[in-house]
Amino acid sequence: MSFISIDFALFAIAVLVLYYCFPKKYRWVILLIASYVFYGMTGIENFAYILVTTVSAYICAWLIENRGTKQKIYLSENKDKLTKEEKKSYKASVKKKQKLILTVCLILNFGILLYLKYVDWSIAYINLFRLTYFGRIDFIPFKNLLLPLGISFYTFQTMGYLIDIYYGKYERERNFFRFALFVSFFPQIIQGPISRYSSLAGELFKEVLFDFTRIKSGFYKVMWGLFKKLVIADRLAAYVSDTIAQRETYKGLYILLAVFFYSMQIYGDFSGGIDVAFGVAEMFGIKLAENFERPFFSKSISEYWQRWHITLGTWFKDYIFYPLSLNKGIIKLGKFVREKGAESLGKRIPIYIPMFIVWFATGMWHGSQNRYLVWGLFNFVFIVLGTELEPVSNKITLKLKLKETDVIMKTYRVFKTFWLMSFLRIFDISKDVPSAFNAFKLIFTDWSSFKLINVYENLSLPKEDFIVAVVAIIIMFAFDLIQRKGSVRERIFRLPLPAQWVILSLLITAVSVFGYYGPGYDAASFIYGAF
């Protein structure tokens, strides 16, 4: 069941009514049932995967905590009998066991994810290897496995929880069914955000009173999400794919426009979907983690990644980057390099090696094609270059007698970051790495041949749709700008009632009339839903 369907709207309304009819204390049960019904509708066979994750994480969290509790009891009972060394050794052995449990669970769950995502990719390379070196043409057939809905999102969320339990950040959830809801909460299962147990659990299980203002607020958020998804993202999709497919004919500015439009498309698609999830959750009185903070106004790539898909970025930072930075082996390597005289490089090793791994993993997370890996590595290279060239950049700024706070400097940095990130997305829209490089090269040729008539008539973006898309993009950016000064919805709610009605009517009209949905349009599925 897609977010963009009447079925989902009816489903959400039905769950909402049931939710508020149920006693406050047990409302989460409705959410659990609804989440499993929702998940079941995507294919009953998918249950097996989410159940394996839920059960394995629940048991392992219990085992990890159990070892910790036993350790506490043992140490307090034998406080006087054990020497300091014995205590240390006992703690180390317990930690080792806990680590083993954690590792087994991580391998199991990430193993499933990797297998589902990478089995065909691996088979392709095995076949190529066998053909190249042994001349074997009896190819291993592809598995063509379908990814269960939201598996990347719930796997990351659940494994994050387990790692937190291992580090003793909070107590595990004892109620299996409550834990199952944390894993499967339906508004966020399609494309996130990747929530933390410490914040989501409080939201899921708190006792909520019915509040019409909250329902209204959630509705606005849903409509705004639909506006971004249906009016902008889906309208631009055909132009982007057509232009990239016909790049030898429509090169130069056509591709540049496609690159710009793809940035708008993916932002509208992903942040729009998150807004729908956010709005639906809000109607249940549940606040989800923010996943976007006006990313296109970032002044550097590092900042961009702190404002785009925030929950994935913080997940990688907390569970991969920091643990690796503090890894004894990496610290030792840095120390070794420093001792050999490369002071500067030695200092950077504990940062750049984990960063490289994070970007490699981010690439892998996005898909099982080489182009995503290359995309991830380019992000790494640009961030490193940005850091290393900062002194040079500062010198130039100084020579030009400019300050970082000057509007011109801010605009330049925002512009640069936006286009760097947009160019990197060519890997996203191309079918493979060579095609991506080819498309990039073609941007810089034949600008004089650009004619809007070709955009309208040959590249699936008729004049009227072009105008609607441009106006909608301006509105989207205007809202982002207003949002810098606080919540747009709160501002709207402070307006006189007639003004609120005009805004809501315009929003409903814009989505229902200009949205790309229904026969002849067919709303595209969410891009991030496939990751």
Partner: protein, 339 residues
């Protein structure tokens, strides 16, 4: 308490305003069927006329072009309405009858069987739309949508036509706003006169018997349902085939329909066999080489059909009923088609 009541009223008002907005958008974006495809107006134009509709005709385009209710009124005092859209299938005809009865019970329902020869999987979205978009919301409508929509169509698109027609935003004209809430009549109680003449091939129409001719299960099922519904409600029923100079009919259909009619003890008549008595001349009385009747043909056929009904069925003569007379005078004096 006061605050709760106030808040509840505010909420109701807000929900109602959203509904008004959605209804208005629906009205604007739905095709208006004013200047072309006027059969799309037939379904909705029935409701204001329901209280005057003693006889209901259901069928397809051959019926809305071949039966002129003005003739029935003028010559026999029969007050009737034609609920027949282009390519109206037997299952839509069934729901047209159910919907008509829901509003007001007629005295006689005449079911044209021309469309009975089409397959069970016959789906033509524009025709289904024209039949259904004007139908008031009811279980009949819901069930009719279920029975008629194609595999790729969605129930929601019929309930909220905006979902289907919103892509018309590029082609909206002033008429879409002007006629958004237009409730006037474009048809003459469902009749759409066509004054064109395009002669049929000369020669007598000869049917053949075909071994491969049959009535599909679904057509049979809905024809039976329609008869049973009428009989259950105490409404007289007539099965007929409207005249057409077309060779895609077979005596076998007549036999099969007669079997069903006999089973329910009702009449079936194929008017093709009475061309001479009716006085139809397919060199003049058809706009499309015999597939349909033009306005001259409709007058001849309606005159004959009215007499047939009057002789065989118990239909109230409304000539002396003031209310009916005023209604019919208004219909007759108004130019029906805003062509």
């Amino acid at each position: 308490m006061k605050a709760i009541i106030l808040n509840t009223m505010k909420t109701i008002l807000k929900v109602m305003l959203i509904l008004v907005l959605v209804i208005t958008l629906n009205r604007i974006f739905m095709p208006k069927y004013i200047h072309e495809n006027q059969d799309g107006r037939i379904t909705q134009e029935y409701y204001p006329q329901a209280k005057y509709s003693d006889v209901i005709f259901v069928g397809s385009s051959t019926v809305h072009s071949g039966i002129d209710p003005r003739v029935l009124w003028n010559e026999y005092g029969i007050s009737s309405f034609v609920r027949a859209n282009a390519s109206q299938t037997m299952w839509i005809s069934y729901y047209m009858i159910e919907d008509a009865i829901r509003v007001r019970k007629p005295e006689l329902v005449c079911i044209d069987t021309t469309f009975i020869k089409y397959d069970d999987d016959f789906v033509e979205e524009p025709s289904t739309r024209k039949s259904l978009d004007g139908m008031r919301m009811s279980f009949s409508k819901i069930n009719c949508i279920k029975a008629s929509m194609g595999k790729d169509e969605k129930m929601a698109d019929y309930i909220v036509p905006l979902f289907r027609f919103h892509s018309r935003w590029k082609e909206l004209t002033l008429d879409d706003f002007r006629y958004a809430y237009y409730n006037g009549a474009v048809t003459v109680n469902g009749y759409l006169p066509d004054s064109e003449v395009s002669a049929a091939q000369p020669g007598e129409l000869i049917y053949t018997k075909g071994d491969d001719v049959s009535i599909s299960d679904r057509n049979r099922e809905y024809l039976r349902k329609a008869i049973e519904l009428c009989q259950r409600k105490g409404i007289q029923v007539l099965l007929f085939k409207i005249p057409a100079h077309s060779s895609n009919w077979s005596e076998t259909y007549d036999e099969l329909i007669n079997e069903i009619a006999n089973e329910y003890n009702i009449s079936y008549i194929n008017f093709d066999l009475l061309n001479d008595k009716i006085g139809l001349d397919y060199s003049k009385d058809t706009p499309d080489e015999g597939s349909h009747l033009n306005s001259d043909g409709a007058v001849k056929f309606s005159s004959y059909f009215g007499g047939y009904i009057k002789d065989r069925f118990n239909i109230t003569d409304r000539k002396n009923d003031k209310k009916y007379a005023i209604n019919w005078n208004r219909i007759i004096s108004t130019d029906p088609s805003v062509k």
